[in-house]
Symmetry: C2
Subunit: 339 residues, 2 copies
């Protein structure tokens, strides 16, 4: 089944969306919000499934679904923990500065605690006070929403707690990262509000494309309207979502509604470094990556980070070419506190 | 006024507590939970104030208040961002390993994004699978809960968004910290669930003790029943809560209910390093600090971290010796997933 939250109040209004993303039916009588549904999943999910079936068969009232009316599926969450499962991305960062990737990175996932209190909607502008120096960048990723996960869960069990899957734009401020990481406490100001796809789907909905706790489809990223990335989220991942969840739950339980991200999707192809789509490669899911490749090849980056007016679109299509999650489609604009 | 959340469901049941912490009245007809009250503060606060006055004058129904029946004031929050405002603590960490504190640390606050989805109640056990190697420690801190804070707020304005003040035990796993910080993404597994004081109070409630966005009273820490720390939260702080909030809101807004922590309260007194209470000093708000002082003085730490059965109590008294927030009182126990 496919779920979305229409813009309404702080936590959105839960709706069930048709497989083809053209229609929705209100789910308020089953659960007012997606967080409330996740809090009571075992009781609530059958009622939502019933609505989803009714929507396909035409037996429940339906309205036209517009992705632009959506907030992120969970507009504010109790947890957003983002991994870095595609080590190719990390290898490139290190290589660009002439450093080795520690052996442990292949066994112990990188993960940071992200801010989860103020997500952007999938079509909301990325508003920043400046586009000079902050290094505004997108990061195209896959994410899962979990149920209640007990502390100490094993990676064998952890996959059972995955309730929903969606896409993310983990907006990053590259210019603020080096200073923050040098302080030793991780990202904070360098990770502003993230945006998620209009629609979140159950693992079953993905069919064969969901295997071994990963999505085996290309993540399609367009930058200013041009194809920029098509890396396959099922390729070159060092850790799947089961392993990421187990990592997150090592020393504390995870509350229902916890969002776990994959990190920037990045494929190696032919040993890498990855080529642009125009050059026959799979491109990139963030600008930092092409800049690292430029640095490795030419000694310096030449692609600039995002400026006011630049746009990014992130989506994923099924094998028939139909959009699964709807698209994240955002523009960078100047932030004005008075607006 | 003083507010608390009695254990009930995932988000607790909001009650107004008497100034002397002996009685409470239910606040359900005004707001079911503290998060809901924070979401609608301007509308809801007058009704809560009325209940608080009625409780003092005896004109509303009252029940006996038991701190042990409380969950943390916000049992799960949308954000928990913990600063490190008492640079003495950071200076000791660095000094113990023979490193300097960077100049920037005196102007740019250290802050990490904490996990906020699964807080412990103030009397809940700290359950860990092992007490060997993980380095279980307490961190006694002060924290504030904010309203909705706009992105880019200045530190001059930020204090206006402080709604409530409480105490924290920011439980830390010292044995896991070096490995995590070496990975560069900050704390994750090394910061398990934190616990907050039974009661959160408005700034007005603190009278003179709330000044310049800081609490000017000693934070009383007892370890296994013995006085361990009495550092004054208004002394030696490099950053006040206004500055910490402005830091957190530089590149994104903060949602109502955001919790901002002060970091471990630590006093220098006479140029430091701080002495134990039995030696006439103000002691410590965490075990790591006494271990750093032991390392500086004797070349190696001798006070062990917490073992199963060890207890920590954290509270704060007003000038008349009355407990303001109630007490955090926790025991370290062995975690058993089957329980």
């Amino acid at each position: 089944m496919k779920l979305a939250s229409l813009k309404s109040g702080r936590d959105g209004k839960l709706v069930v969306v048709s497989k083809d993303l053209t229609r929705y039916t209100e789910a308020g009588r089953v659960s007012p919000t997606l967080q409330a549904a996740l809090d009571n999943w075992d009781k609530v999910a059958p009622g939502l499934e019933e609505l989803a079936q009714g929507l396909e068969s035409g037996s429940v009232p339906a309205e036209r679904f517009h992705e632009r009316e959506c907030t992120s599926p969970v507009p504010r969450a109790y947890q957003w923990a983002d991994g870095s499962a595609y080590i190719n991305h990390v290898e490139l960062v290190r290589k660009a500065r002439g450093a080795e990737v520690p052996e442990s990175f292949y066994e112990d996932p990188l993960m940071y605690q992200g801010g989860s209190d103020s997500f952007l909607g999938p079509r909301d502008d990325i508003a920043m006070p400046t586009d000079e120096g902050w290094g505004i960048d997108m990061e195209g990723e896959v994410a899962v929403i979990t149920g209640d996960v007990p502390m100490g869960v094993t990676s064998e069990e952890a996959g059972d707690y995955i309730r929903l899957i969606m896409l993310v734009n983990d907006v990053s401020l590259r210019g603020l990262i080096p200073g923050e990481l040098a302080k030793g406490f991780g990202f904070f100001q360098s990770k502003p509000s993230s945006a998620f796809s209009p629609v979140a789907v159950t693992p079953e909905e993905l069919g064969d494309a969901w295997d071994n706790a990963a999505v085996h489809l290309p993540l399609l990223v367009r930058y200013n309207g041009e194809p920029f990335g098509q890396a396959n989220a099922g390729v070159d991942l060092t850790f799947n979502f089961s392993q990421l969840i187990a990592h997150a739950a090592k020393s504390r339980p995870l509350c229902a509604g916890t969002i776990i991200g994959s990190g920037t999707v990045s494929n190696k192809r032919d040993g890498g470094p990855g080529k642009a789509i125009v050059d026959g490669g799979d491109g990139y899911s963030c600008i930092a990556e092409i800049r690292m490749i430029e640095t490795i090849q030419d000694g310096a980056p030449k692609t600039p980070f995002m400026k006011f007016g630049d746009t990014v679109e992130i989506k994923m299509k099924d094998k028939l070419g139909k959009s699964i999650f709807g698209s994240i489609d955002q523009k960078v604009v100047k932030y004005d506190r008075m607006v």
